[in-house]
């Protein structure tokens, strides 16, 4: 048997028959250009059709395939076997989320949080489409662009120790998304979002760990979004105290 192989130890859990998760080992052919997702697909196609996980685009843009690879939150479509081989690779569901089955987590909480920051353009008056676009310079676009790159993969939630302990925490991606709209020159909804973002469960739960930014595969830098929102919120508070009738 000359073909090189690699072993994956994958967390299995089927609620209908298992009382707790357990690890199952699969040994498969090793290919130099395969990612962990290719390995999972090989297992499901050829060895064990019951292995269950989410995936779609396989190019790092849909956000479906986040899992813990050797204990680190990763997009499995962008985690190359060659970076681990010949060692064994463990694959587990994303941390800090309830597990539906095998590598599939329940993201209901995340979806609610995303919606709660009102991630849409809020304006006092809208101009008619017939009058054309709102002007936005390249500099104004640059101001929020980075924070618009989130693919909702939730690696940041898996990395965040606060979310692990305190499930009510709004979390990195949701705050970054609210911040993205606050920074958009076309938006006027900062005050509307403030009660959510500046609440106790919002930015103030964050304790500067910044693991969210470390694991983000899209360089969104949610930690920066949270810290800057803290600064802005504090400045707003100062202004409301020092200038209760607003600047004149």
């Amino acid at each position: 048997m000359n073909e090189p192989t690699v072993t994956l130890k994958v967390t299995r859990y089927r609620p209908e028959r298992d009382s707790a998760p357990s690890a199952q080992a699969y040994t498969i052919p090793y290919r130099q250009d395969w990612v962990v997702l290719d390995a999972l697909n090989y297992i499901k196609d050829m060895i064990d059709g019951t292995l269950t996980y989410r995936w779609s685009c396989r190019m790092g843009v849909c956000g479906s395939c986040g899992m813990m690879v050797n204990g680190v939150p990763k997009l499995t479509c962008a985690a190359f076997l060659r970076d681990y081989y010949p060692a064994e690779i463990t694959v587990a569901p994303l941390a800090n989320f309830p597990v539906v089955r095998d590598l599939v987590i329940d993201i209901t909480d995340f979806m609610q949080k995303l919606r709660s920051v009102k991630p849409w353009i809020i304006r006092e008056t809208e101009k008619p489409v017939s009058e054309g676009e709102y002007l936005q310079t390249p500099e104004e676009l640059e101001a929020y662009k980075q924070f618009s790159m989130c693919i909702n993969c939730m690696l940041c939630y898996a990395a965040c120790p606060v979310y692990g302990l305190e499930p009510t925490f709004l979390g990195p991606a949701a705050v970054a998304l609210g911040y993205r709209y606050n920074l958009d020159s076309r938006d006027q909804g900062r005050e509307v979002r403030q009660p959510i973002l500046a609440s106790h469960e919002g930015i103030w739960e964050c304790t500067f760990v910044s693991e969210c930014t470390v694991v983000c595969p899209k360089d969104v830098d949610p930690a920066a979004a949270i810290q800057r929102t803290k600064v802005n919120t504090t400045l707003d508070w100062f202004k409301s105290v020092l200038l209760p009738w607003g600047a004149r």
Partner: protein, 576 residues
């Protein structure tokens, strides 16, 4: 039983745009969106290059229409194209108002860039992740509307039809495995294309033609299925898309001798900067054929995943690449270990888009009462025999909105579907799934085996160059695979989140769709657009200025024809 006024299958660009459009018709309408994935995962997210619309003074609706019709090799319905180009500008500006981060000129206006087959710069873009930004803008905007309710990760298994009227769907809620019905006065299919019937595709795993198959099984026609678009620049092996925008920004395609070979095929002369509609900015069908001809001449590279050529971006410089093509750089580095700033990218044609789909009229209405369709799942037709890049993202907006409005208007006037016959249909569907898959014993075929053989058959008979013998072989192979499908066995018999079951259901859909592609191709005895036959190399307007319509019969698809609508652009020879 949950019931809606309008139910939309598919939560991508077309589905979400339709949902918002329906919501804006009336706040009293209840709107459901059912999708087998969360909307952010829809394949719209992978689109890169851009969205075409006439915005500039140096442009005109007639020019956009003419480019589109010419690009379609004159099979597009010209009345529909006229409506499409007219509504496109309003749609892209509406999306901008909703927050889409279009790239901008220094004066703050949205930018436009050159694209294949377009005679004027008219492709709006959001860096090189246009689809991603459009999808997230539409999804986030849809969250504003309380009347839009979603069923995320529900897999639709059939359309409910009562007295010839489509009145809802049966679907498996993946979270508990229960089959349920979602009824509605109007249903809109926005489930995308079916690139996964081929072995090399830019398409995500979810592009399995589910909605096309559902409509086909309910009696709707699938139109122009033989027209499959190959994108000239996919990565070898994975098929991952390298956007046409790389060529729009000035990238060159060279063979193994470092020669810009497109000049040998009537697309020259080569210029240093891109010339519209020439060389690397020629249309996709022609560029894909050029690649195959280079291969046949022995002038392509050979690699572990077959033949390829080079897409050279080095002369564009790091600054431009980082500003306009950052995702291209990331993809090339991650998936082929190439930094395009320093090395050319290996590329080859890969299946990308289905021009064909569920036959609809200009409003997105199908021949079945209560059933509408929009996006890649539909065929209106604006794309005819070959689509121009950056028209399909616009198509999602224009026809998503049209179908949403049409379905909403219908729902305001239609009666509710009745409950009684539907309860029986749901329990029949639950039993069918149990007997065919979950409780079945004794099967011997694995899903992956049948799927791979289907893909191989499609590549051999329904690829870039086709001929009668190979197409017949493919049609027969697909019939045999359909028989072998009945002998499928699943490892996974559980109810909670059974993705082996959904993979089997997707394969079921793909086999139906593949048959319509192969059969329609066999019967079209001409070459037009992306359908190229070595045995019938010329375009035959006398007999085939017509759309094919594939109808389901127990023995396979029956093909009929429908003339294309010509208004102001009489067919001419398609030379660039």
């Amino acid at each position: 039983m949950v019931t809606y006024d309008v139910l939309i299958i598919g939560g991508g660009g077309a589905g979400l745009r339709a949902a918002i459009a329906a919501a804006e018709v009336s706040g009293a309408l209840s709107i459901g969106v059912v999708s087998k994935v969360y909307p952010m995962r829809s394949h719209t997210v992978s689109a890169e290059g851009g969205t075409a619309a006439v915005l500039r003074d140096n442009d005109s609706l007639d020019l956009h229409a003419r480019d589109t019709i010419f690009g379609s090799d004159f099979l597009a319905d010209q009345d529909v194209v006229e409506a499409f180009v007219r509504e496109a500008p309003g749609e892209v500006i509406q999306l901008e108002h909703w927050g889409c981060p279009w790239s901008r000129d220094p004066d703050g206006r949205v930018s436009v860039r050159p694209f294949g087959g377009m005679s004027v710069h008219r492709t709006l873009f959001a860096a090189d992740k246009t689809g991603f930004h459009m999808l997230h803008t539409l999804f986030q905007t849809s969250l504003k509307y309380d009347q839009i309710q979603r069923h995320d990760e529900w897999f639709v298994t059939s359309l409910l039809v009562e007295d010839g009227r489509v009145c809802g769907v049966t679907a498996i809620n993946l979270h508990d495995g229960q089959v349920d019905s979602l009824t509605a006065k109007a249903v809109i299919v926005c489930t995308g294309g079916a690139g996964r019937i081929f072995p090399f595709t830019t398409n995500a795993a979810i592009k399995t033609g589910d909605g096309m198959a559902l409509a086909y099984r309910a009696g709707a026609a699938l139109k122009d299925m033989e027209f499959v678009q190959y994108h000239p620049t996919g990565l070898p092996g994975t098929g991952i898309l390298i956007t046409e925008a790389a060529r729009g920004e000035g990238g060159w395609m060279v063979n193994k001798d470092g020669y810009r070979y497109l000049q040998d095929y009537g697309l020259g002369p080569p210029t240093d900067k891109p010339t519209l509609r020439k060389m690397e900015l020629g249309p996709r069908d022609i560029l894909s054929r050029c690649h195959i001809q280079e291969y046949q001449k022995g002038r392509t590279f050979d690699g572990p995943y077959g033949h390829y050529v080079h897409l050279d971006l080095r002369h564009l410089g790091e600054e431009l690449i980082d500003e306009k093509l950052p995702f291209v750089r990331e993809l090339a580095r991650n998936y082929v270990g190439i930094d395009p700033v320093y090395e050319p990218i290996p590329v080859r044609p890969v299946v990308h888009y289905m021009m064909g789909g569920i036959h609809t009229d200009i409003h997105g209405k199908t021949s079945l009462e209560g059933l509408y369709a929009a996006g890649e799942a539909a065929c209106v037709s604006i794309n005819g025999a070959n689509r121009l890049g950056s028209n399909s993202l616009t198509e999602l907006l224009v026809f998503g909105a049209r179908a949403g409005r049409a379905a909403a208007q219908y729902a305001l006037e239609a009666k509710d579907p009745t409950e009684n016959p539907l309860a029986q249909l749901v329990s029949d569907e639950q039993r069918r799934i149990e007997q065919t898959f979950l409780k079945k014993t004794g099967g011997r075929e694995r899903i992956a085996t049948i799927r791979e053989e289907m893909q191989k058959a499609m590549e051999q008979g329904a690829g870039i160059y086709r001929n009668e013998t190979d197409m017949r072989t493919t049609c027969e192979a697909l019939r045999r695979l359909r028989e072998r499908f009945a002998d499928l066995t699943l490892d996974d018999r559980s109810e909670v989140f059974n993705t082996e079951l959904t993979t089997a259901l997707e394969l079921d859909c793909m086999l139906d769709v593949a048959e319509t592609v192969a059969r329609s191709a066999l019967l079209r005895k001409e070459s037009r657009g992306s359908h190229t036959r070595t045995d019938f190399p010329d375009r035959d307007d006398a007999n085939f200025l017509q759309h094919s319509l594939a109808y389901r019969t127990p023995d396979g698809p029956r093909i009929e024809y429908l003339p294309a609508t010509i208004t102001r652009w009489p067919p001419e020879e398609r030379k660039y």
